[in-house]
Symmetry: C2
Subunit: 230 residues, 2 copies
């Protein structure tokens, strides 16, 4: 019983897997990306809860002993529903990031999907950034258009010293965000913070990657996932 | 039996409803937007086919006598599957637009989702424009970032005289596309072309709008849709 479940709406949760592997290289990951229904960030709470519970039950059926909701939107909107739906330990990514940000920062800002921001789960000034995930999913990590979009979101913050990257996709454009915000603003990556709170056992087998659709963007990650229907 | 079904991945199909109402103001529309699983354009053919068949079966269960696949991606990838899955007449939006473009143009270009373009259904030089739908869904119809994104897509065309707007969302930014392409390039809107081929009866009741999720972008259209689960 040493399998660790990780689920996300798509490929963003791979940033959480990366952090897990840094700290616990021998852990055995069972990953599910719900690529047939990505993104979650623009959907209603009710639909996100339904999808997240289905994701969690799938991971439970694969024999995981604990699971991480890598998706910030699902963590913000569906943690209670997922916890009630499965028998194993469930972690969300919001609380560790929020706790850490409050330790190191005074004026804290958050960027995330519309679902995450409107949930208020992070409890600080939040700006919804709905166009970032489409750019990142397209592999556009530093285009002039992305820069314009980012600037229009980030210029809405006033005098923050700490910025929580409240979506699993955003660490992939952290350099650009840092450049726009300036070097004095500290960025908080929830993937790093959740992993610091864990103590994961070594696994006995290979990592397994599952997706609900074989999409171009997931396949470009160099992983050969198995297709499942939820 | 005078109800006309129209389905789309989201709200884009409302551009088809608009054209139907111009020509057949007394028609009775039963609309389904699969807002819980939008967009279709980035998903595999297999998943688009599954979703489109579910959409069509729902409309059939509402008693429509014929239905239009408003979504270009579903028209391109799932027309045969939908036709086999339901007993009523099914229309797709690709063929009338292609036929018309070939009548008025010599060098024809197409823009569409990745799914539509890679299907080759339109049979002409195509550029996939995966970032346009997210901008349009966000209501950003003329922002500097959208203009940059559009220019980077459209500058790939060489000497076309006709451009097919191969996605139900694109008519909403037709002015911007026309401006970038220049006034000599003729734009073809598949919604207009499919409607020209139809002869729709008057209806006996009110239009009905169904969605699989009550999302912000659909609700901002001024329609009060009913929520359904597929």
């Amino acid at each position: 019983m040493a399998k660790i479940g990780v689920f996300d709406s798509g490929l963003g949760g791979l940033t959480v897997v990366k952090e897990i592997k840094k700290r616990f290289p021998k852990s055995q990951i069972i990953y599910l990306g719900d690529t047939a229904r990505v993104p979650y960030g623009t959907r209603s709470a009710k639909v996100v809860q339904k999808f997240a519970v289905e994701d969690a039950k799938f991971l439970e059926s694969r024999g995981v002993s604990q699971m991480i909701i890598a998706c910030n939107t699902a963590s913000a909107l569906a943690y209670q529903q997922v916890k009630q739906a499965v028998k194993v330990l469930v972690y969300e990514v919001i609380t560790p990031a929020r706790t850490y940000a409050e330790k190191i920062g005074k004026n804290i800002g958050v960027i995330g999907t519309r679902g995450t921001i409107s949930s208020g789960a992070y409890g600080h000034i939040g700006i919804a950034c709905p166009l970032l995930v489409p750019f990142i999913e397209e592999g556009e990590l530093n285009s002039p258009a992305l820069r314009l979009v980012l600037e229009s979101y980030l210029k809405q913050f006033r005098d923050i010293d700490t910025l929580i990257l409240g979506c699993t996709h955003y660490p992939l454009i952290a350099d650009l965000i840092q450049e726009i915000m300036g070097s004095k603003v500290k960025l908080v990556n929830p993937a790093e913070e959740i992993v610091k709170t864990l103590d994961l056992p070594d696994g006995n087998g290979k990592d397994e990657y599952y997706v609900t659709d074989l999409t171009r963007s997931f396949l470009s990650q160099g992983i050969s996932p198995q297709l499942v229907e939820l």
